[in-house]
């Protein structure tokens, strides 16, 4: 697999396809290895789900892909280019617990648009309409319900029309109805051409969303395969056990 990725990173890729090349990626903090020797590459559009038990390194990997954590080893290339603030700016990350500014719903979206140099109330309202929050436009953001807050975080992320949308267990604390809404929005964004990376440890959710799956365990990449292949015939014993509902340590 490693040989393959190295080839990938060096060959030119069509600019229309999302292209991610991860090479020997590792992350240590205070002597703990949270992630080691992770290599894979992705050329498909659609939704890639990062799966694995707690502490597998999913969130760390997501942040390394986004360029908001400095890797201890290895590299991440997008479209053949190493990570840079430029690339981070072309992406958007939605956290498990949304970080909303202490402002109105509208101002939260306006802020990101302004930092991208394109303040536009029309675009803002469109983004809010997309997540069903247009009627709350002047509402204080931090007075919204948990599900609404996460939808606002999504609207804020999508308003900038990112190339890549990264989500870190965005539905972990939400009720089923709210989960459904979020999944719909994400699926819609993906079919609109945005590449999505979705971290979850909810197997049902992964089945609903994934086109391909990256399975992590104890900071290592165990599998990267198409969703159908992964769910029908997992290669590693850890993935088999995980899908069977066993508790992995």
């Amino acid at each position: 697999m490693r040989d393959m990725t190295q080839n990938c990173a060096q060959t030119a890729v069509p600019s229309t396809a999302a292209s991610l090349a991860v090479n020997g990626l590792g992350y240590n903090i205070d002597g703990h290895r949270l992630l080691q020797d992770v290599s894979f590459d992705i050329r498909t559009q659609g939704i890639t789900v990062l799966m694995g038990p707690n502490g597998a390194g999913k969130s760390v990997l997501l942040r390394l892909l986004h360029g908001i954590l400095p890797p201890s080893d290895g590299q991440v290339h997008w479209y053949g280019k190493p990570l840079s603030p430029e690339i981070t700016r072309q992406q958007a990350l939605v956290f498990q617990k949304p970080v909303l500014l202490r402002r109105s719903v509208a101002a939260n979206v306006d802020f990101v648009l302004r930092t991208r140099g394109r303040q536009d109330p029309g675009r803002r309202d469109a983004a809010l309409a997309r997540v069903g929050l247009l009627h709350l436009v002047q509402h204080p953001a931090r007075r919204l319900s948990g599900g609404e807050q996460q939808r606002l975080a999504l609207a804020r992320a999508l308003a900038t029309e990112p190339d890549v949308l990264l989500l870190d267990e965005p539905t972990a604390n939400l009720d089923p109805a709210a989960v459904q809404l979020i999944e719909n929005i994400v699926t819609e964004a993906a079919s609109g051409g945005t590449k999505v990376f979705f971290v979850t440890h909810d197997i049902g959710q992964a089945r609903r969303l994934a086109e391909d799956v990256v399975f992590l365990h104890r900071g290592r990449l165990l599998e990267h395969s198409a969703a159908s292949a992964f769910f029908d015939a997992p290669q590693s014993s850890a993935a088999r056990a995980y899908l069977a509902g066993e508790i992995l340590t």
Binding site: I68, T88, R89, F95, V99, L101, R102, R103, P140
Partner: protein, 235 residues
């Protein structure tokens, strides 16, 4: 203890009558101290925000120094400003000694460390919450500082209030650089000091009461703003 009784009577009398001299003194006190607070915020908030975000060698030392400067004795600040603004001093040509401007300068120096040190604390907590999102937005440091200051605005109001309290209550600095000149640089605290030295203790106390009423009103107003902010979960 009869001073207390007559002080209350005098204070009411002064306020109800709208005593012209008193109004002049109150207005100058507010003008000087509010200007000083605004200037201190102009300098101290960006400094506090910078220290909240930036990581550099010697940052700990800077923070310790700033915290220590919160205890600057007003008289020392007054003296330093006097020595600079005196005709014999390096800035004497500006002719600012014994003017309200000199008093504003002295109080600004006195409270800027307070604003910077306290806002650093407030904004560092806020930054802990926002930092990852800021990195995801790929904000520049200046942009991040702006967001912190704006989103921390209601907590920072309390910081500004702490600065105002210190400024409006100090007498040492304004006495030296203002000179307590009647109708020119006399403020509440120097007037209180003057009446005390005249042995007019009841009048001094009455002025003190008026000062406390003003401070109370300003604090209540700020508290009101904060409460309405908390209802929006902005504070």
């Amino acid at each position: 203890m009869q001073e207390f009784e007559s002080a209350f009577g005098l204070a009411f009398d002064l306020i109800l009558r709208g005593d012209r001299d008193l109004l002049e003194i109150v207005w100058l006190s507010l003008r000087v101290s509010i200007s000083a607070v605004l200037l201190a915020c102009l300098i101290g908030l960006p400094l506090g925000a910078y220290l909240a975000i930036a990581r550099f060698r010697g940052r700990g030392t800077v923070i310790v120094a700033l915290n220590a400067l919160m205890g600057l004795p007003p008289v020392v600040v007054g003296l330093i400003v006097y020595l600079h603004l005196s005709r014999a001093g390096p800035l004497g040509f500006l002719g600012l000694l014994y003017t309200p401007t000199a008093m504003i300068i002295a109080q600004t120096i006195l409270i800027t460390p307070i604003v910077a040190a306290l806002s650093r604390q407030v904004l560092e907590d806020l930054n802990t919450e926002y930092a990852e999102q800021f990195r995801s937005f790929a904000l520049s440091r200046a942009q991040a500082m702006q967001v912190l200051i704006w989103d921390g605005r209601y907590s920072l109001l309390t910081v500004a209030l702490a600065g105002f309290g210190r400024a409006v209550a100090e007498v040492g600095a304004v006495m030296i650089v203002g000179g307590n000149i009647d109708h020119l640089t006399r403020v509440m605290t120097t007037a209180i000091a003057l009446e005390t030295s005249r042995g007019e203790l009841a009048l001094a106390l009455a002025l003190g009461l008026v000062l406390m009423v003003i401070a109370l009103a300003i604090n209540a107003a700020v508290q009101g703003v904060r409460l309405s902010a908390e209802r929006k979960a902005y504070a």
